[in-house]
């Protein structure tokens, strides 16, 4: 009887298009109903999705465990908006302290987001993998490497994957090769700068540091500006490696004052000032 009531109330919720004035449903019931929606149905508002996602941080592990199969089911819905809502719920789960164990059975479903044509969904998979707690499992590395190797994916999401891999497995030769291959591609300046930013404060191998140093000579000012700020965060060895290029940048005619300022700060750091 209560089940029938629940179904009736959800029909009303989605026809009405808002949860205003109604009791917030459980995560499981919300996504079960969402997963059953026709592809062309109207979507819940962002506020309504937030009300449900807000339950996730304080929910019991058991409540999350029973909700995850229907959230994952919603991930394969033909409507991209419903997929985005499900991915949003997964990011909230991923930020929990127990997320690695909760999401471990669903890594394959999260991995499938890398195949989505939607760049937000590709990016959400990188984000989810990167924040798993207490630490991401080893199983995240192969799908991230596979994602990074593809030439038809969103390069901004791939730039995020560069940072996750560099933080997680900086010593892994496969990771170093994958990052080198990505940075060797003809990237738009924004993606290249994003990848440099993602490598900030990592302990990547000297051959990757070399590629960031090459960014000091990039024709795009945004790339140069990012490179000169990221290099000091990579450690003293990287700074020494970059010294000749930094000196060249600091004295380059026509270089912007902002870029020169950071180059001079990096050089001062080398001299211990």
């Amino acid at each position: 009887m209560s089940h029938i009531f629940l179904k009736a109330s959800w029909v009303m919720v989605f026809v009405g298009g808002s949860l205003a004035g109604q009791t917030t449903p459980s995560v499981q019931s919300f996504f079960r109903q969402l997963a059953r929606q026709p592809a062309d149905s109207s979507l819940p508002t962002y506020d309504d999705v937030l009300k449900v996602v807000d339950e996730i941080p304080a929910a019991t592990p058991d409540d999350i465990t029973v909700a995850l199969p229907v959230i994952v089911q919603a991930l394969s819905h033909p409507n991209d908006g419903i997929k985005v809502d499900a991915a949003f719920a997964l990011t909230a789960v991923a930020m929990r302290a127990d997320s690695a164990s909760l999401l471990e059975p669903h890594l394959a479903a999260i991995n499938s987001l890398f195949d989505s044509a939607n760049d937000r969904l590709q990016n959400s998979a990188v984000f989810i993998f990167s924040v798993l707690k207490p630490k991401p499992p080893q199983e995240i590395v192969p799908p991230l490497l596979n994602f990074l190797a593809k030439s038809d994916r969103d390069t901004h999401a791939q730039a995020s994957a560069v940072g996750v891999l560099a933080r997680y497995e900086p010593e892994d030769a496969l990771v170093t090769t994958a990052i080198k291959n990505f940075l060797s591609r003809k990237l738009d300046p924004e993606s290249r700068a994003s990848a440099f930013n993602a490598l900030r404060s990592t302990r990547v191998k000297p051959q990757i540091v070399d590629m960031i140093i090459a960014g000091l000579d990039d024709p795009n000012q945004g790339v140069r500006f990012t490179a000169v700020q990221v290099i000091p965060s990579l450690g003293r060895t990287a700074l020494l490696q970059a010294q000749p290029a930094l000196e060249k940048m600091a004295n380059r005619p026509g270089e912007t004052q902002d870029v020169k300022k950071y180059a001079n700060e990096a050089l001062a750091q080398i001299k211990g000032q």
Binding site: V49, L50, V53, D54, F88, S124, A157, T226
Partner: protein, 114 residues
């Protein structure tokens, strides 16, 4: 808390185009957070100086639901948005998923003549 600031100054003179649109659209992200959670905006400010003594202006706005933003024309506040929340779930939805975009148009209001 990410700090973000953007300023686009333009002087509106009497006798210029009677309806002068100014567009500002861009994307920015805090490099200390995810590089793929950009703050985006696409704003169109239309200033009508048909009556030079009482010019009016309105804003077409389309931006992420975080962070705050405001548009001031000739010293008059034309548009202000303050996010209702400041927590991780809200910001994740607004920036990582670009959900809950804030869109609309203000009513024309009189601004100070220059």
């Amino acid at each position: 808390m990410p700090y973000f600031s953007f300023e686009n100054r333009r002087q509106f003179e009497n006798g210029a185009d009677q309806a002068a649109p100014v567009s500002s659209s861009a994307s920015a992200s805090n490099p200390l957070e995810s590089v793929n959670a950009p703050i985006t905006w696409d704003m169109r400010i239309v200033v009508d100086t048909t009556n030079p003594n009482a010019p009016t202006a309105y804003v077409n706005y389309n931006h992420t639901c975080y962070p705050s933003r405001q548009i001031i024309v000739n010293g008059d506040l034309l548009y202000r948005y303050t996010p209702p929340r400041n927590d991780l779930n809200y910001i994740t939805g607004c920036l990582l998923f670009q959900s809950g975009k804030i869109t609309g148009q203000t009513n024309p209001s009189t601004i100070a003549p220059r």
